[in-house]
Amino acid sequence: MSKIFTRMGDGSGIWMSEAEVRADLEAGMQEAVKRGKVPELTAEDMERLYEIMTDPNKVVSVERGNEVTHSFDAGTLKFGIRGGVPVDRLATILAHERAFASDSMELAHIDYSYKPVKAIAHEERQLMEQVQLNTIIPVLYGAMSNVGLYTKPDGPIENWAELLPMAKIKEAQEAQEEATKHATKDMIYVSEIMYEGGADGMNFDSVGASGDADFLAALKAVEYLKNKFPDMEIEMGMAGEFVLGMHGELTYDGQRLAGLYPHQQVKIAEKAGVTIFGPVINTNSSKSFPWNLARAVTFTKACAEAASIPIHPNAGMGVGGIPLTNTCPMDAMSRASKALVEIGKADGL
């Protein structure tokens, strides 16, 4: 029996037999079914996933006609900051438009949260105005909701992560409720300024990073903005596959937020007014790439089928089946890209 080259969830290369690949695909899919209470992939889906995984070509792609449009988080931070290329953010966006074939882009500040952006929002608007005059592709402004930034000593709120170990449950809940109000206010403040500067829309990224209060803060900001600016394009990308119940009892429109998985999160996001939803499915670095991708595709398909709006699953380092490594190998990345779109029914990444 021939061996197939694939990878572990940390990116390291491994050789697996055909039977081992099939077994890991099945186990990854079943893990998602059990954890998220979502439907199994069909036998046809599993066979297609196996074909993608074992394709002898190093790089694979979607079939002609199945192409989708992609969006960004941390858009202008990738080329100029992480890549260390000495170009400004306008030039970065133009490079994406003219050279990197990007369908859309995101203007972002290096301190990628709404709280720090608040202090420089007008200067950010000035750049957004210049960007919009010079570019053709849609350009959103993005940052993280990051409710955790409102805790002492950086903010005015008691730190619930310190209160909870002391069994001060009520105090921890009240602190989160207070932080939510500050975060929502800042997200609305920055968004209004950017939209008035010509932004095509806003991206709320890594939502839920501080738990259910973080998710609620972003939902309330979206609801306000959508009522005020009905044409505003709003993308919401999550921080993890499962909303952590740091508070535990917060609700939106009667739905408890703690414990929601992507196919449930998207319905709440739709109610608030989100126009593109970005589910996250975490990669387990100690499991194989086939296991992780089958798991990610299972969650993604359930989310896509539940959604009335387009979904763009996060498919960067350590999410969406992608191995947890900064320089993701193209063999794994292209397989994840194809599988999330063609089997997971994603509208973009």
């Binding site: 792609s61 192409e67 969006s71 438009e97 074939a101 008035e196 932004a199 095509d200 993308e235 992608i322």
Partner: protein
């Protein structure tokens, strides 16, 4: 990472109709509906939307911007104003520009 995904599953931005479809999906339309909408406005097939050779000719003909800079061709805001009209959609920066320019 982004470039890899664009090659594996992306439409190709202004090389094709990627930016046009992205504008429609961002308004809440699923990818299939968005492609149909754009294809009907451009009077091409869904298949044609991702064809670089065909879309280069069409984008130049419609003067809505392309990866290749051409003297005298619409760029930036000029191209977006044409895109808003062509797709019959609201583009925030276009509306803002018109207002600021007194158009």
């Amino acid at each position: 990472m982004a470039f890899g995904h664009e090659m594996a599953s992306g439409m190709g931005g202004v090389r094709t109709a990627g930016d046009l479809v992205a504008r429609v999906t961002a308004k809440g339309k699923k990818i299939r509906e968005a492609k149909k909408y754009v294809a009907s406005k451009l009077r091409v097939s869904l298949f044609d939307l991702s064809d670089e050779a065909l879309m280069k000719e069409l984008r130049e003909e419609l003067n809505i911007g392309h990866v290749l800079a051409r003297p005298g061709a619409a760029i930036g805001m000029e191209a977006k104003m044409r895109i808003a009209k062509l797709l019959d959609i609201e583009i925030n920066s276009v509306n803002r520009f018109k207002s600021k320019a007194g158009l």
